[in-house]
């Protein structure tokens, strides 16, 4: 009964009080009792509760999530990372999912069941209303940047970020000139088919169905795109889909002389475990600052800079003081990745450490 009450109360609280005030009240009333009473609100972690599960196609479900107060307002096209300890081994599995819809207080992820996928199978099997999940704040650079003419090119479940940006235009006053190209195998497998067909009247959405094999796709795609969008070179393109599809489109765009600076591609490259030796790290470093939800890339040539200097060069501010590892003001915790220099267990001193792996996640 208490759980039912909480299920009704949580959406109400987040709607009425808002995340900002909820954070203020919850963080200042955190104690053993409140944490035990409601671990969804009285927590230090970003969590979300499943409030609705919808069957989109035979193998695709949409999960509507109500995130708690630690969640930052997302932009259409961004994704979240979902972390679940699937096997109860203490080493949780993490996967990224694009936010397919963004509502006032909720966000949705649309998950296609992948026969070999750990997380998608788990979600399809166990995900139900009332369940609480560990999520990250929204991330990603695949977001609309006020261009006037745009074209979405997507395939399969790659439609989700495109659809999310597309849907956000509905409520916008100055709508850009949008074209939407979507490739799916069969109508039954088409995610958001109904929603897309409703808006199809204005001719901006093309859904192409094909059961072609991978080889045939390559020969089939170019002619289709150039016919469908004669002004393709004037449009900013948002591309998202399975790797082979993306590669085909990329080489095609290159062939027709499309300016690739106008292209946004969504990558879901999994975090690579780094085995590079700590002393000889020379590559580019991607840094994620979890608390601020900022991602930035340190150029290979800047590898001799401290983490603090490199962040500043990217316009990212760390709390800091002495810049020489003495005062401890910049001290923060390393979530994953490796650094060189001054560290203490998981704590690192950005002003006196150097990145030593391709991917760094800092608290």
């Amino acid at each position: 009964m208490l759980n039912n009450m909480k299920n009704t109360l949580h959406p109400w609280v987040i709607k009425k009080i808002g995340r900002d005030w909820l954070e203020y009240v919850a963080s200042n009333t955190m104690n053993v009792a409140t944490e035990a009473f409601d671990p969804f609100i009285w927590t230090y972690d970003c969590k979300a509760k499943i409030v609705e599960v919808r069957q989109e196609t035979a193998d695709t479900k949409t999960f509507v999530l109500l995130p708690n107060q630690h969640f930052k307002q997302p932009l259409p096209g961004q994704h979240i990372e979902l972390t679940v300890d699937i096997d109860n081994t203490g080493t949780p599995v993490a996967r990224c999912y694009t936010l397919s819809e963004i509502q006032q207080d909720t966000v949705s992820i649309t998950v296609k069941q992948n026969p070999d996928g750990k997380m998608s199978n788990w979600l399809h099997k166990y995900g139900r209303e009332g369940m609480i999940l560990d999520i990250s704040s929204p991330r990603g650079q695949f977001v609309y940047r006020d261009q006037e003419k745009i074209l979405f090119i997507s395939a399969g479940s790659g439609i989700t970020p495109c659809y999310s940006i597309y849907k956000a235009f509905e409520t916008q006053i100055n709508q850009p000139d949008v074209a939407f190209y979507y490739r799916s195998r069969t109508p039954d497998e088409t995610i958001f088919r109904q929603q897309l067909e409703q808006t199809k009247n204005d001719n901006s959405v093309d859904i192409s169905y094909s059961r072609h094999s991978e080889e045939e796709k390559t020969s089939y795609l170019p002619s289709q795109l150039i016919e469908a969008y004669p002004d393709i070179k004037e449009r900013h393109i948002y591309l998202c889909g399975p790797e082979p599809f993306k590669n085909d489109v990329l080489s095609y765009l290159d062939d027709i002389g499309y300016d690739l600076n106008n292209l946004e591609v969504e990558h879901f490259a999994p975090l690579q475990a780094t085995s590079q030796s700590v002393d000889s790290f020379t590559g580019e470093v991607s840094v994620l600052l979890k608390s601020k939800n900022i991602r930035f890339v340190i150029d290979a040539k800047d590898n001799d800079k401290t983490l603090l200097e490199a962040a500043e060069a990217n316009g990212v501010q760390f709390e800091h003081g002495c810049r020489s590892g003495m005062c401890g003001t910049c001290r923060t915790n390393l979530v994953s990745g490796e650094v060189n220099g001054q560290q203490l267990g998981k704590s690192i001193y950005p002003c006196a450490t150097y990145p030593a792996s391709a991917e760094l996640v800092i608290e």
Binding site: E319, C327, T329, N333, L344
Partner: protein, 385 residues
């Protein structure tokens, strides 16, 4: 008196290494002991809170005052031994205690944590006693050395601080950390902020955002102390004003206690050279030269948040405070070996009276003609010539 070779660069490197060795030793030793300590202090704080609020609520009329010392103990432990030390990140490296991680911790004090960390850890602890850099040299508008231009407010600085500022000392910190004090000096002082450290808006807060942070930090304390608990008392048939006044008394005592503690831990003379930071050895020496300890037992030290080990705290601000008494012995050995200043007042009272004497001296204009006392680093440098 002066050690002839102290000023050589090589010697400063040695000094640096000696202090680093102490740091490394204690860092390597961090563990369960520290987690147990901070949890124990929190447990005591909770117990004192229950006893204090319980007595204030149950006891009739003036007898409710019996609860005030307990409530004071709770608020004091939370404010300094827990709050101040946790916000230095002393417990950040321990997993499983997110409530004591500096960026997650919420203070039961009317001070915004993020602004405090930036001002206190990032500026005061780095530029200690540096003219126009260290905001703790003035805590508002105090004139604590002859270099600060004198104006008519300074004639009254002793009574103003003793009677009006110290009883609400903690409420002054947001003004210092979020910019309100700068505006006051700009408006009231002929030379504005000349001679004072000003707010470095590192978070690039808008004026509204800074104000909101300031107010939220205050209201969380007021809502609890002067809203929720008095109202609970009213609803259960106990007196609203009895609880309100008792809580206010505990609040004032807590503010005064902390004000006197922090004011007694820095000698505001000599001022330190700004470039001490360029050499780590010199930075350590400038921290030694600007901090002063006062003696107390282990239990007393907890009530002072171990700020009476100010020297050790300024050398190693992010080592857990309960280690300072042990570290002090090692620091004193290094100071003896290299003939470095290690300053101590023999008790709290002497520390306070020294400080108030100094405030009195600099409230008068004539002190402007007194030559500045040079810092240890400057003396060494001129001896070397």
């Amino acid at each position: 008196m002066s050690h002839s070779s102290t000023s050589s660069e090589q010697n400063y490197d040695e000094i640096h290494q000696a202090f680093e060795d102490i740091k490394t030793k204690h860092r390597d030793d961090l563990g369960e002991k520290d987690i147990r300590y901070i949890k124990k202090i929190r447990r005591y704080s909770r117990i004192f809170e229950v006893i204090g609020r319980g007595l204030i609520w149950i006891m009739p009329g003036p007898l409710a005052l019996i609860g005030v010392p307990f409530l004071f103990l709770h608020r004091n432990l939370e404010a300094i031994e827990i709050g101040h030390n946790v916000l230095h990140g002393q417990y950040d490296s321990f997993e499983g205690i997110p409530q004591f991680h500096s960026k997650k911790f919420r203070w039961k004090a009317p001070i915004d944590e993020a602004a405090w960390r930036q001002e206190h850890n990032g500026i005061h602890h780095v530029h200690t006693n540096v003219y126009e850099k260290d905001p703790d040299l003035n805590h508002g508008f105090l004139r604590t050395n002859a270099q600060v231009p004198h104006n008519k407010w300074h004639y009254f600085q002793v009574p103003i601080y003793l009677f009006f500022v110290y009883p609400a000392m903690l409420y002054n910190f947001n003004a210092q950390n979020l910019g309100a004090n700068d505006k006051f000096r700009e408006r009231r002082f002929p030379l504005g902020n000349k001679g004072y450290a000003t707010f470095e808006n590192t978070e690039e807060l808008t004026e509204d955002a800074a104000k909101k942070r300031h107010q939220r930090a205050v209201w969380r304390v007021w809502a609890k102390e002067y809203g929720v608990f008095p109202l609970l008392a009213l609803l259960t048939g106990s007196g609203f004003f009895k609880v309100f006044l008792a809580n206010m008394l505990a609040d004032v005592l807590n503010n005064y206690w902390i004000a006197l503690t922090i004011q007694a831990t820095h000698l505001t003379e000599p001022l330190q050279p700004e470039d001490a930071l360029k050499s780590k050895g010199k930075w350590y020496v400038s921290q030694l030269d600007s901090s002063v300890n006062f003696k107390g037992t282990r239990k007393q030290s907890i009530l002072w948040g171990h700020l009476n080990y100010q020297v050790e705290h300024h050398l190693y601000p992010d080592l857990p405070s309960h280690r300072y008494p042990d570290i002090a012995i090692e620091v004193q050995e290094v100071c003896k070996k290299y003939n470095l200043p290690y300053k101590t007042n023999k008790n709290w009272w002497q520390a306070i009276s020294n400080y108030i004497g100094l405030l009195w001296r600099f409230s008068f204009k004539r002190s402007a003609s007194v030559p500045l006392e040079p810092s240890f680093l400057e003396k060494e440098a001129s001896n070397a010539k």
